[in-house]
Symmetry: C2
Subunit: 205 residues, 2 copies
């Protein structure tokens, strides 16, 4: 059955070959379209034309699958960060860029963002070790940036951890209020974070 279109590509065989990747991609697509909570393993399996429980060979759990998506999200975010750091800008511009990047990433990948930082994984279910590691690394990196920006007198405060917590909190809060639909009109997210910027900076003169 299933008209395996025998000829060239060996990828679409019974032994799917890369089911794991296919599942992840399809799942991302589905949550982007309809939200996390309306993703079911059965609909996902249907979409990939595979049986209900096929995913269980690649993921312990539904939770495990969601953690994998979240981990991918962190990788994507880290890459965006690295790429942005390499640009030729003043530190002040880099800092602003960081804030804006955060908002753009969050509002453009709302469901992945929710998985990365939301209760869905962190509170309710326990999170994978992989996820724990990569998330911690990301935050660590942010603290280091903050320490640097404080050391050169750009950002207020002398406690990098504390400052990172506050600034991250601000970004997270604004992002979440938009994502969750408490605030509407995402396009303003960038504006808001820009007007929050001066609060974090050492007044210059």
């Amino acid at each position: 059955m299933k008209a395996s279109t025998s000829t060239s590509k060996p990828s679409a065989k019974y032994h799917h070959g890369n089911l794991r990747q296919t599942l992840l991609a399809a799942a991302k697509q589905m949550i982007a379209a309809d939200g996390i909570e309306s993703l079911s393993l059965r609909k996902l399996a249907d979409k990939v034309s595979v049986s209900r429980t096929a995913a269980y060979h690649y993921f312990d759990d539904k939770n495990d699958l969601l953690c994998a998506i979240a981990s991918d999200g962190f990788r994507q975010w880290q890459q965006l960060l690295k790429q942005s750091e390499q640009q030729n800008q003043t530190e002040r511009q880099k800092f602003e860029q960081y804030l804006v990047n955060y908002m753009v990433f969050a509002t453009h990948h709302p469901e992945e963002y929710e998985l990365m930082f939301g209760r869905c994984i962190w509170k309710q279910a326990q999170c994978t070790e992989e996820l724990q590691t990569i998330a911690h690394g990301t935050f660590q990196h942010q603290v280091e940036m903050m320490a640097y920006w404080q050391s050169i007198g750009l950002v207020l405060g002398d406690n990098p951890l504390r400052t990172a917590q506050i600034i991250w909190g601000t970004l997270h809060g604004i992002a979440k209020l938009f994502i969750d639909g408490v605030y509407v009109d995402d396009t303003r997210a960038e504006e808001i974070v820009k007007s929050a910027l001066p609060m974090f900076l050492v007044p210059k003169d």
Copy 2:
């Protein structure tokens, strides 16, 4: 059956009398104990010793019930606010009190807080008109307070809406990172928000 203990109290009869309140109270208790997502209408019904679908005469939906809990949460929060405003303090103390109150309320009623401001209701399901109204009123009130604090030169900025959005964002973000378990050790929440305080104030001298 059920030994209606005929004598005095007419409250515990078959026609339950105040099922709605009973259900709400039990539901709050259950989400406080095990979290929102593990609340099921059937377990709730069991707990109140009533049949699976009894709740449907008082609530359209599971969502409707959750909205009712959220509305109660807003009422509770408003009351706490009003009560705090009446205290004899400097405006600066009132502002600080407001920030601390927010964190204490959020971390002490995490599940209700999630219902009040989280995706569970605002994004995914549509929210009740009652909830919409009371939530909007609460925010409106906050904007007015911000306008006043800005007018007397206490808080930075000249755009009350914008400032309220940012400050609320900060509070919400920090609260949520604790509630959802990204940050641990809630007891530090108060500390963090206190060290964020100076960022919002007009520097005095």
